[in-house]
């Protein structure tokens, strides 16, 4: 029972602050609600016993990513200009299609029997989850791990190149 209450509270926090991110006119406030939404999600990760990922979520998302967003918002000093046309025909069309797909998907999830699992049906891990995580990271998923490392290097070089001022050729 207590778990159900916690689940409802955390998912409500995540969803409501996600809505506030979308509707907020001020980008700084939107970034703040983004932190709240990420914290709600991290709590849900804890409820799913993914403790390591919950910590990573708070450190990387609520820490690094949102701080980067706030830094750029301050740097550019952007103000939301009153938009003339929020709903263009393309927006309405894609919104209708996206909404229809979402409603269909939710209906399917609701009626699905294979998804209707409770914890008792779950196959439990009989080893330490974090140990298993690290073990798989360096055995089964070694290649993705290496590729991710290279991706980070490439991203770093890319950011340096993008923000560097180039002298004109022959000037």
């Amino acid at each position: 029972m207590a778990e159900q209450i916690f689940f409802n509270v955390f998912s409500l926090i995540a969803l409501v602050s996600a809505v506030l991110v979308v509707v907020n006119k001020n980008p700084v406030n939107a970034a703040m609600f983004l932190i709240v939404s990420f914290l709600g999600l991290a709590s849900l990760f804890v409820m799913l016993e993914a403790y390591f990922l919950a910590v990573i979520q708070v450190l990387v998302y609520a820490g690094a990513v949102v701080v980067l967003f706030l830094f750029i918002i301050m740097l550019l000093d952007v103000k939301e200009a009153a938009s003339k046309k929020v709903f263009t025909p393309i927006t309405i069309a894609s919104g209708a299609i996206g909404g229809a797909i979402l409603i269909l998907g939710i209906a399917l999830i609701r009626s699905s029997e294979t998804l209707d699992r409770s914890k008792e049906d779950a196959i439990g891990l009989d080893v330490d989850p974090l140990k298993e995580f690290g073990n798989q990271l360096f055995t089964t998923y070694l290649l993705p791990m290496q590729v991710t490392g290279f991706l980070l290097l490439i991203a770093m070089i890319g950011v340096i190149v993008l923000s560097k001022k180039f002298e004109k050729e022959g000037a």
């Binding site: 159900q4 689940f7 969803l15 991110v21 979308v22 980008p27 983004l34 939404s37 999600l41 849900l44 409820m47 799913l48 993914a50 390591f52 990922l53 990573i56 979520q57 990387v60 998302y61 690094a64 990513v65 980067l68 967003f69 750029i72 952007v78 939301e80 938009s83 003339k84 046309k85 929020v86 709903f87 919104g95 996206g98 979402l102 998907g105 939710i106 999830i109 609701r110 699905s112 998804l115 209707d116 699992r117 409770s118 914890k119 049906d121 779950a122 196959i123 891990l125 989850p129 298993e132 798989q136 990271l137 998923y141 993705p144 991710t148 991706l151 991203a155 890319g158 993008l162 923000s163």
Partner: protein, 101 residues
Amino acid sequence: MEISLQSYIMVSSLLFGIGFFGVLIRKNTLVVYMCLELMLNACNLGLIAFSKYHGAMGGNLFVFFIITVAAAEVAVGLAIIVALFKKRQTVQLEELNALQK
């Protein structure tokens, strides 16, 4: 535990929907970017829920990679936005319509 897998997938899909509509209706590039992050996080929640109820570690590892890629993506994307702002002095999507003309 009474919470079924369905509930988690439901929260995940709703969060994805919110992010999707945010991308559609917002005109500020930075907020559009935040909504993209919301969508990525919704996928993460789904993957972790599936991983938990299946009793396998694969989903958790994928979430780990997604978080890493998202962090790299944010760094590059924001650098592009700053470069764009230097050139055009705006981050409003409706004013960035050079390809439409």
